[in-house]
């Protein structure tokens, strides 16, 4: 409801300008906003998943279940369920209503990335390390794991000689990333040889394949609308693709035409990209850079670079764009902090004094006809009250642009007042003691990740704290 009062120039700004803060809880490796944009899920090195409240920048919930680094996070559409995948070869589906694990599925290989079905929070697709991707249905406590094909679908025309060679090659490749389309009827999968497969969920068959790049497909991501796809690949080029309507009734797989819309790359420095994300509307693409501190933003109309965000002197891993605000969150690889870039609007001074107005240039004073006329007070009052004949509607709620309707998204995370605040202490110390102290903490986290369980975490921290006080 603040849009009507906000500075239009600030609202017109689509992408963030500068760092506005950072969040910290342990060593974060992955982040993901929920669809409403009020929560930020953070996966840590020690396997803990932390939900941050974007408004207060405080921890809303801590989910402990994984024992190794969290690899990927995915929110359900309603915001109640969160799917996490971890290096402990497990995927956990959390119910945030209770803060418990609803389903825990173990696989026989480390999980790269797991993505939830957009409409059914019990289905997800995941790609495993050097193994075939799986479609998992865990509606029942006993999950059903369905293998998905990796081998690209070739056209029939190729002659046999080539075919054999290809088959041998195809067998070697593995799926590195797989995601659902917006409707949930198809799966997009990227392989280690640069192929993009479109797999029909119902039949679990590859209906279309195309080679979009030469190297490994590192990451795929759709816009919120699901119409556009961004591909991060090993060949240092980020591609955006406009997807055809795959759920059209008369879809002929052979006529699917996937064309790369834009290629974003740094020709001069030959930077490669750690992670990519679309902006809320899909107009912009952002990427974190390998061995570099900057976050790049391109716009998709002309395909030009619009901004290089500078921030903390640290390389960033996963980068995420807020679902409806010009706000970017990225994980610092070294410190494990989550850095936030956003817009800061200056205070409009005229808002503080209602009888003043900000003017661009001098305005010549023109006296109104009755400006200094004297009226009896009673009469003025009566006039004023008589003017109040407008109809007011204090009840009807007008929809606000960009707001998710309540009817559609009714889940509200239960509010917990009694969270243990060990983390806030941790943060406090790191601020007070500066860089050195903080680094030692991340060191602890790394150590803990190796051997001790999560329960030892706090004790060790307390010991460390005691030591630092003595000094």
């Amino acid at each position: 409801m603040n849009l009507a009062l906000s500075d239009p120039f600030v609202l017109a700004q689509d992408y963030p300008e500068q760092t506005t803060g950072s969040l910290r809880s342990g060593h974060a490796t992955s982040v993901r906003f929920n669809r409403k944009g009020d929560c930020l899920a953070v996966g840590r090195v020690d396997g803990t998943v932390v939900i941050f409240d974007v408004e207060t920048q405080g921890i809303a919930r801590k989910l402990k279940g994984h024992t190794r680094q969290v690899q990927s996070l995915c929110w359900s559409r309603c915001g109640r369920y969160l799917l996490t995948s971890s290096q402990d070869w497990r995927c956990n589906l959390w119910d945030l209503q209770t803060g418990t694990i609803l389903r825990s599925v173990r696989f026989h290989a480390p999980v790269y990335i797991a993505e939830l079905h957009p409409w059914d929070h019990f289905k997800f697709v995941l790609s495993l390390f050097e193994d075939q991707p799986l479609l998992v249905d865990c509606t029942n406590p006993e999950p059903i794991k369905m293998k998905l094909p990796t081998i690209p679908k070739r056209t029939q025309i190729d002659d046999e000689q080539v075919d054999k060679k290809q088959a041998a090659q195809d067998a070697k490749q593995s799926t590195t990333v797989s995601i659902f389309t917006a409707s949930g009827d198809h799966i997009l999968a990227g392989t280690s040889k640069g192929w993009l497969n479109i797999i029909e969920v119902a039949t679990r068959k590859t209906i279309y394949s195309t080679k979009i790049c030469t190297g490994v497909v590192i990451y795929l991501r759709l816009t919120n609308s699901g119409r556009d796809l961004v591909v991060n690949a090993q060949d240092r080029i980020i591609r955006t693709i406009q997807l055809p309507n795959l759920s059209a009734k008369d879809l002929d797989p052979d006529t699917i035409d996937i064309e790369v819309e834009h290629r974003f790359q740094d020709v001069v420095n030959r930077l490669s990209w750690n992670h990519v994300a679309f902006s809320s509307t899909g107009e912009y693409v952002t990427a974190s850079t390998y061995n570099n501190h900057d976050i790049y933003i391109w716009e998709r109309n002309h395909g030009s670079l619009v901004k290089i965000l500078e921030g903390p002197k640290e390389e960033h891993g996963i980068v995420e764009w807020h679902p409806h605000r010009p706000m970017i969150a990225a994980c610092g690889l070294e410190s494990g902090r989550i850095h936030i870039w956003s817009i800061t609007s200056p205070q409009r001074w005229s808002a503080l004094a209602p009888d003043f107005a900000e003017v661009e240039e001098n305005v010549e004073f023109l006296e109104h006809e009755d400006e200094y006329d004297n009226h009896p007070e009673e009469e003025l009052l009566k006039q004023r009250l008589d003017l109040e004949d407008e109809d007011v509607d204090v009840l009807t709620i007008e929809p606000v642009k960009g707001e998710i309707l309540d009817s559609e998204n009714t889940f509200k995370m239960p509010f917990q007042l009694d969270l243990d605040d060990s983390d806030s202490e941790e943060e406090f110390i790191s601020i007070r003691r500066g860089e050195m102290r903080r680094k030692s903490f991340t060191g602890t986290d790394h150590l803990l990740d190796g051997d001790t369980g999560t329960s030892g975490d706090d004790r060790t921290l307390k010991k460390m704290k005691g030591r630092s006080k003595k000094r």
């Binding site: 603040n2 408004e55 921890i59 609007s345 503080l352 209602p354 204090v394 709620i397 606000v400």
Partner: protein
Amino acid sequence: MSDFDSAESTPVPERPRKRQRIYDDSEASTPRYSSPDEVEGDHKPARSSNLRRTPRSRSASSEERSPRPKYRSRSASSSGSAGASPSQTPDAGPSPPAYKPPQLNYKQKFILRGHQKAVSQVRISPDGCWIASASADATIKIWNATTGKHMRTLEGHLAGISAIAWSPDSNTLASGSDDKIIRLWDRASGIPYPVPLIGHHNYVFSLAFSPKGNMLASGSFDEALFLWDLRARKLMRSLPAHSDPIGGVEFVRDGTLIGSCSTDGLIRVWDTATGQCLKTIVHEDNPSVTTIRFSPNGRFILAFTLDSSIRLWDYVSGTCKKTYQGHTNLKYSLGGTFVTGATSAYIASGSEDGDIFFWDAKTKEVVQRVSGHDGVVFWVDSCPMTGLVVSGGMDGTVRIWVDTYEDDTMAREEAAPLEDDYKPKEDPEDDNMAVKQEDIEDSEEKYHNDTPMGRSPSRERSPARSQEQVTSPERMEH
């Protein structure tokens, strides 16, 4: 009122429409009573007041707009129109007006006694089940909203409490006191959370939870507006909001804006995310603003000012849309609320003469005026789901009011013909009886009329009574 009569005399065109409306609302209104007999027994006087009240909404509108509406004018017009109403019937019958005149008939259901001193705020929990009342005796009491039963007394503050607020899930209660501390309480156990929110340099005077329950806004006499992160129990933001004590703070429906008001006469609207002031509203006469409420849809701000007015502001354009007058509010910090009816919205507020006023939000007419409290009525709150209204006042009582209007009409249609019960309401004895009933113990139904005769002189605020102190609300006097 014309609606009523026409329904009876020209049944054919009117009935279906009326029926329709009754059935719509009966569902919502029935569960309010512990037994249907309560309503049944009292329906006569209730309707009488309706009949007398309604025509005023039209005929007296011009008088109402006079700069200082006096209670006298109201009573005069009501008696006049009551007599005139039968003659209006033929006109009103054939062409039903597009805008249905508002009908309300709030009656006292329970008197909740227990507070030693004045009650400064009463709040109904968002789920409609509980009523919390804060008092100058440094306690908070929680009551069951349907039965009026006293559930719990929360003790812990060292001075009078001026502000309470329910968390959106109705499980936590925040209280702000003159001991400068904000405490959070678990509603079910009545135990305060171990770490209170300490930071204000002066009395805490108003509190508001954000719609998500993650933040608490507090306004204090130290002229600052604090925004607390409730999970970490840390001060998130301190806004140097005003140059005088802050009277009220509130969050808008979606939590993106915070409104604050102060005795410096300003209403400020803040952006929750950035902490910036987005708008300042000030009335020409600069009267002290003691309380603000956002409208249910978040488009308007209702401001209670110490010039006996309540103004509805469009905060985007900064214009005053409506001024509600008729009550007395010159000295104390009074608070009211929007009351959501079946079709229209009303505004309810206490008054320093001990009455509760209900205005139609659109027409600015006083739809109903009920008395009951002995002394200033400090706070009126309503439950948007059930239409329940609760009030707290200088006399240390909390009173629960229910709208019996729809039940009356239903009862009438089923049972008695209109003309018959039309008469007894003119009988002054009715009112006297109600006054006497007043002294009977708690939790007994005490419906009594809001007719002018019903207000005995003894209930008018005597100077002596205003001395008897209510620590907190009194302070708004400047």
